[in-house]
């Protein structure tokens, strides 16, 4: 328990100490929120779908979470390059606990980031229909963050250095984000796109945010939570399996 805590604490301390990183990773969501939110606002309104900012904000929260958490998971690659990974790997702590501590730490960081984006989107004009919904939303944020941190860990176990990083961003995170229904409603999509969105775990996370924040869902909250939980468990097991096999 102590070991999981200290690994968690390390992730949090590293996050709080790198202010540029914190600010840097907020710029992208803000940019999306403002440019798309206001850019498409009137078209969306005319199509009879209501306020686009309201629709978009949960999607942008999901975006900040997926980026932050996959990157947190992938921090293992840095640790490998700077040698710190060895220190944790020779310690008499099961690899499973190491992986869990790091993952919970990374997920906490991503949740904080998601919460910050929530605050910013409120300033930008987002009106959740019930402000107290933020409490269950934070829990769902954490679940989504856990899922994608575990995914990041899994990927990092395969990679030796940061060279594959760009590849992961372009071939994994970007598609997961763009195909998730973060930016557009999942109703009335072409079949192919609707099918792909169904396979994307982020779709369910953002759907759950929308249900809770603006009372608008596609799959339904129960389905969302079941899918998210199952995928999170699967990724955690896979992540710890691959993490256990790391040799330095």
């Amino acid at each position: 328990m102590n070991t999981i805590y200290i690994l968690w604490l390390r992730q949090i301390k590293r996050y709080l100490r790198s202010k540029p990183r914190m600010i840097g990773s907020l710029v992208q969501p803000i940019l999306f929120l403002l440019s798309l939110g206001y850019g498409f606002g009137s078209v969306f309104q005319r199509a009879g779908e209501g306020s686009y900012i309201n629709f978009l904000a949960p999607g942008i929260i999901g975006m900040s979470i997926i980026f932050t958490s996959v990157f947190s998971g992938m921090e293992i690659i840095w640790d490998r390059q700077f040698g710190f990974l060895k220190e944790t790997l020779v310690a008499p702590v099961s690899r499973f606990n190491i992986m869990i501590g790091r993952t919970i730490g990374g997920a906490t960081v991503a949740t904080i980031q998601g919460f910050l984006v929530f605050i910013i989107s409120m300033i930008a004009g987002f009106h959740p229909y019930n402000i107290w919904a933020i409490i269950p939303v934070i829990l769902v944020m954490f679940l989504v963050a856990l899922l994608f941190t575990a995914l990041g860990t899994m990927i990092a176990s395969f990679l030796n250095d940061m060279q594959g990083f760009q590849l992961i961003v372009n071939f994994l995170i970007m598609p997961l984000f763009f195909l998730s229904g973060a930016l557009f409603p999942l109703e009335g999509l072409p079949q192919a796109l609707s099918f792909v969105a169904r396979l994307d775990p982020l779709s369910y996370g953002i759907d759950a945010f929308r249900v809770l924040l603006i009372g608008l869902g596609h799959y339904g909250l129960i389905t969302d939570l079941i899918v998210l939980s199952i995928v999170t468990l699967a990724f955690l097991s896979l992540g710890s399996y691959f993490f256990r096999r790391i040799q330095v």
Partner: protein
């Protein structure tokens, strides 16, 4: 304390460690010497559960690092050849992290951390981030950290590289005291032959993955009919420079990791 028999490690076609066998008794100070790329670090990685051997048996403190890694990990401390500190944490936090991972009780952990950090003269910098440290300071902190949990065996992979004679002397005095007081087994590698001669009770020399000689410094000197361990070492391993030998191993390692992840 350490028993190695017929240990082999291959990276693809390259044999980094070629059928070596040796024993280190409890409480012994043992030096493992060899030119660059001879297989020293690879051997240490196998002893410390970081690498899986291709074949052969290892026992560390009576347990097999391959099948009982966690039991083995409890019994040793290690100072790596290259840095393994968290740069974004302070010196004190690095010590804390280590102490918690090794399950050292809080009071004892703080007491020892203070004592060790004073020993390596970093106590007044305990709140500084490690990234602000010089190479030598990082080295000293790593040594202090490796000793924090009072392991039964301590592995030191070129621990004194980049340290000034004062710190080196200080460090070895402390290690020798620890060895006497707690019977800690010390397994170290170094390129400073006079250090090995002065400190090690027994020495093994490895070259091209094979152990080519072992014994006390005096025995090795007598065996080669030379005047010092340095000459004996050169006599045994030849005078050609081995920098090149290290590169292919690293490359093999990288290719192996890249393609045949296991």
């Amino acid at each position: 304390m350490i028993e190695v028999s017929n240990l082999v490690k291959k990276f693809g076609d390259f044999t980094a460690v070629d059928n070596i066998s040796f024993k280190v008794s409890a409480g012994e100070i043992f030096a493992f010497l060899g030119p660059n790329g001879a297989g020293k670090s690879t051997t240490i990685k196998m002893l410390t559960t970081l690498l899986q051997p291709t074949s052969g048996q290892i026992l560390v403190n009576g347990h097999d690092p391959v099948h009982q890694p966690n039991i083995v990990r409890h019994s040793f401390g290690i100072v790596f050849q290259d840095p393994s500190l968290d740069d974004e944490l302070t010196a004190w936090e690095n010590m804390e992290f280590h102490g918690v991972l090794y399950g050292v009780p809080k009071k004892l952990r703080h007491q020892r951390a203070e004592q060790l950090m004073k020993l390596v003269e970093l106590w007044d910098r305990k709140k500084s981030l490690v990234k602000e440290f010089s190479g030598g300071m990082k080295r000293r902190l790593e040594i202090a950290r490796g000793l924090l949990h009072h392991p039964k065996i301590i592995f030191l992979d070129e621990p004194t590289l980049g340290l000034d004679p004062q710190t080196r002397n200080y460090m070895w005095t402390y290690l020798k005291e620890l060895n006497k007081a707690e019977g800690t087994t010390i397994f170290f590698t170094t390129h400073y032959m006079e250090e090995a001669e002065r400190i090690a009770q027994r020495i093994a020399i490895i070259d091209h993955g094979k152990i080519i000689a072992s014994g006390t410094a005096a025995e090795l000197i007598a065996q080669t009919k030379t005047n010092s361990l340095e000459d004996a070492f050169l006599n045994l391993t030849g005078r050609s420079i081995r920098e090149e030998a290290a590169a292919p191993v690293d490359r093999m390692r990288m290719m192996r990791r890249g393609f045949t992840k296991r």
